[in-house]
C-alpha cells in the first residue's frame, strides 16, 4: 500500500481534481450567461456564440434600465430580502432554541405541523394569501412580501437541528451565574450558534430573493417589482428581450455574491471548542 506522504499527496491531488471538475461544470453556464449579457441580440442568435465577453454590457444595461428602472428593482429586491432575513432569523432562532432546549406541552405536534406546511407549494397559497393581504390592505407594500414567510418552517427546522449541539451545561452555568432566560438566549446561545445563523441567513435570503409567483400578484406597481418579476416582464408573447434578461440576471447575481463574501467570516471553525470537556 502507499506509505503516508504518498497517500497525502494523492489525496490532495484527487480533491483538487474533483473540486476543479465540479467548479467548471457549475461555472460554464454562469460564464455563458455573462458573455450573453455583453453581446448584442443579433450576435446572440448565431450558432457560434463568442467565447470572450463582448463590449455591449453597458448598452444592454441602458436598454434594460429605460425599459424598466432596473436599479430600483435591485434596490427593492435587496431591501426586502435583508429586512426579511433579519426578521425571520430572529423568529426562527428563538423558536428553534425553544424546541431544542426546552420541554413543553404539545411540543411534538406543534413542530410537525409547521413542518407539514413546509410542503405547501406557493402556487396553492397564492389565491388565499392574495385575499388575506388585500383585506389587510397591505397590497403593493414591502410588508406584503416580507410577512408571509417570516415564520419560515425551514428556518425553525434548521435552528432546532443546530441548537441541539449546544451543551446544556453552558445554559445551566449561565443560569447559576444569574442570567435570565432571555439573557441566556442572546448572550450565550446566539453567539455560539454563529455558523448556523450564517447558514440560516443564506437560506432565508435566497428563498426571498427568488420568490416569483407570490410577489408578482401582490406587488402591482412597476416601481415595487423585485428582480424575478422585472425579468419575467421581458418575456412577451411575441417579444423575448434575451440580452436584457441576461444583463438583469448577471446583475442579480452580484448581491448574492456579496452576501456569500460577507458571511464568509462567520463560518468559524469549531466555535464550540473549549466549552465542554469531552
Amino acid at each position: 500500500m502507499m506509505d503516508e506522504p504518498q497517500r497525502e499527496t494523492a489525496l490532495k491531488f484527487g480533491s483538487y481534481a474533483f473540486l476543479l471538475a465540479v467548479v467548471t461544470l457549475i461555472v460554464v453556464p454562469l460564464y455563458w450567461m455573462i458573455v450573453a449579457a455583453t453581446i448584442p441580440q443579433s450576435e446572440l442568435f448565431s450558432s457560434s456564440i463568442p467565447f470572450l465577453p463582448g463590449t455591449q454590457f453597458l448598452t444592454n444595461f441602458e436598454a434594460l434600465q429605460n425599459r424598466l428602472n432596473f436599479v430600483r428593482t435591485i434596490w427593492n429586491s435587496t431591501l426586502i430580502a435583508v429586512v426579511y432575513t433579519l426578521l425571520s432569523m430572529l423568529l426562527c432562532s428563538m423558536a428553534g432554541f425553544a424546541f431544542a432546549k426546552y420541554e413543553f406541552k404539545y411540543k411534538e405536534p406543534l413542530f410537525y405541523f409547521v413542518l407539514a406546511t413546509l410542503v405547501l407549494p406557493i402556487q396553492a397559497l397564492v389565491v388565499p394569501l392574495f385575499l388575506l393581504v388585500s383585506t389587510l390592505d397591505l397590497l403593493n407594500t414591502y410588508l406584503a412580501v416580507i410577512l408571509p414567510w417570516a415564520a419560515n418552517p425551514l428556518g425553525i427546522f434548521l435552528m432546532r437541528q443546530n441548537m441541539q449541539s449546544l451543551p446544556d451545561a453552558l445554559l445551566e452555568s449561565a443560569r447559576m451565574d444569574g442570567a435570565t432566560e432571555l439573557q441566556i438566549f442572546y448572550k450565550i446561545a446566539l453567539p455560539t450558534m454563529i455558523p448556523s445563523l450564517a447558514a440560516l441567513a443564506v437560506i432565508l435570503f435566497i428563498n426571498q430573493w427568488r420568490l416569483f409567483l407570490y410577489p408578482l400578484v401582490v406587488l402591482q406597481e412597476e416601481a415595487m417589482f423585485t428582480i424575478p418579476i422585472a425579468l419575467s416582464q421581458l418575456v412577451g408573447a411575441q417579444r423575448v428581450a434575451f440580452e436584457q434578461i441576461m444583463v438583469g440576471t448577471t446583475l442579480a447575481i452580484v448581491p448574492i455574491a456579496l452576501l456569500f463574501i460577507f458571511l464568509q467570516r462567520y463560518f468559524i471553525k469549531g466555535i464550540l471548542a473549549g466549552s465542554v470537556k469531552q
Binding site: 480533491s15 423558536a95 396553492a124 383585506t135 415564520a151 447558514a199 466555535i271
Partner: protein, 340 residues
Amino acid sequence: MATSIRSELQSSESYQELSDRLRFLRQNVSSVVPKIPGLPYLYISPFYLLFSVFLLFPTLYTIYLSVFSYEGPAGSEYIVSIQAWIFELTIPKISNLEFVGLAHYESLIFSDSVFHLSLFNTGFIFLIQVPLMVILALAVAIVLDSKFIRAKGLWRTLIALPVATGMVAYSTVFLLLFEGDVGMINQVLMSVGLDAVPWLTDRWMARITLVIAITWRWMGYNMIILLAGLQTIPQQLYEAAEIDGATMWQKFRFVTVPQLRPVLLFVIVSSTIGTFKLFAEPFVITGGGPANATLTVVQYIYRQAFVQLNLGYASAVTVCLVVIVSAISIVQVRRGGAAQ
C-alpha cells in the same frame, strides 16, 4: 483597525458610565419581569403568531376549497367579517362554490391518470436527484473543509452562485445547452463522433435533463449548509480519532457523519420537500416535457388553478401532495432523528 477604535472608545469615561447605566437599566427591567411560567411559549409565540395568520389560514382555506368546485367569482358577499377595535378583517366569499364532497379526491385517487403520471414523474426525479445532490454536496463540503484547500471563500461562492440565477435566464441557458441537435452538448457529442442525445424530446432523457438542471442549481446551496454543520464539529474528536489510527474513511464514518447527522437530516428533508414542490425548472425548460413526461404535481396544480381555473380541484391536488410529502418527511425525521 476597527478593534483599536473600539478599545479607545471603551476606555473613555463617558462610554463607561453609559454602558453601566444601560446594564443596570436592563437588570431592573429583567428583575421586574415576573417569572414566566410558560417561558418556552414566549420564545415560540412570535413565530406562531405570524405563522397562524399567514400560513395556517391559507392552509385551512385550501382544505376548505378542496371540497368545493369553483363556479366563478362571487359578488360582494363575505365569508367572515370581523370588526375588532381598529382592526377590521373581512374575507370576501371567494366565489360561488358548489359542494362536491370528496368527488375531487375520488377522481384524483382513482381516475385522474394525468395526476398519477405527475406523481410518478415527481417521485422518479426525487429518487435520483436528492441522493445524487446530497452526496455531491457533502463531498464538496468535505473537500472545502479540509485544511490543504486554499482560496476556500472563492470556491464556496462560485459553487453556490447558481441558486441566485433567475428562472428565465437559467432556462434560456439550459435550453441552449440541451436543445435538440442545435444544443451545445449535442454539438460536442457529435463532433466527437457520438450521436446526439434527444435531451428534451425523449421522455426519459427529459427527466434526466431536469435532474441535471436541479442538481446544478441547488447543490451549492446545500453544500453551504453542510459546510456550516461541519464547522461545529469539535476538533478534539478528529484528534482523538487520529490518535486511534483511524483512516480518512473511518474518520468520515465514525466522526463526521454521526456529528453531522442533524444538519444532514435537515438537508435531506428540505431537498426532498423542495423536489416535491418542483415547479420552475419543468415549467420553463421542458414545459411539462414530451407528453407530460416531466409534468410535476405542482405544475399540474398550476395548470388546474391558473389555466383551467378549477380552483377546487387544484386545492384537492394540493392536499394530496401535502399528505404524501409530510408523511415522507416525518418518516425521515423520525428515522434520522431517532438514530441520534
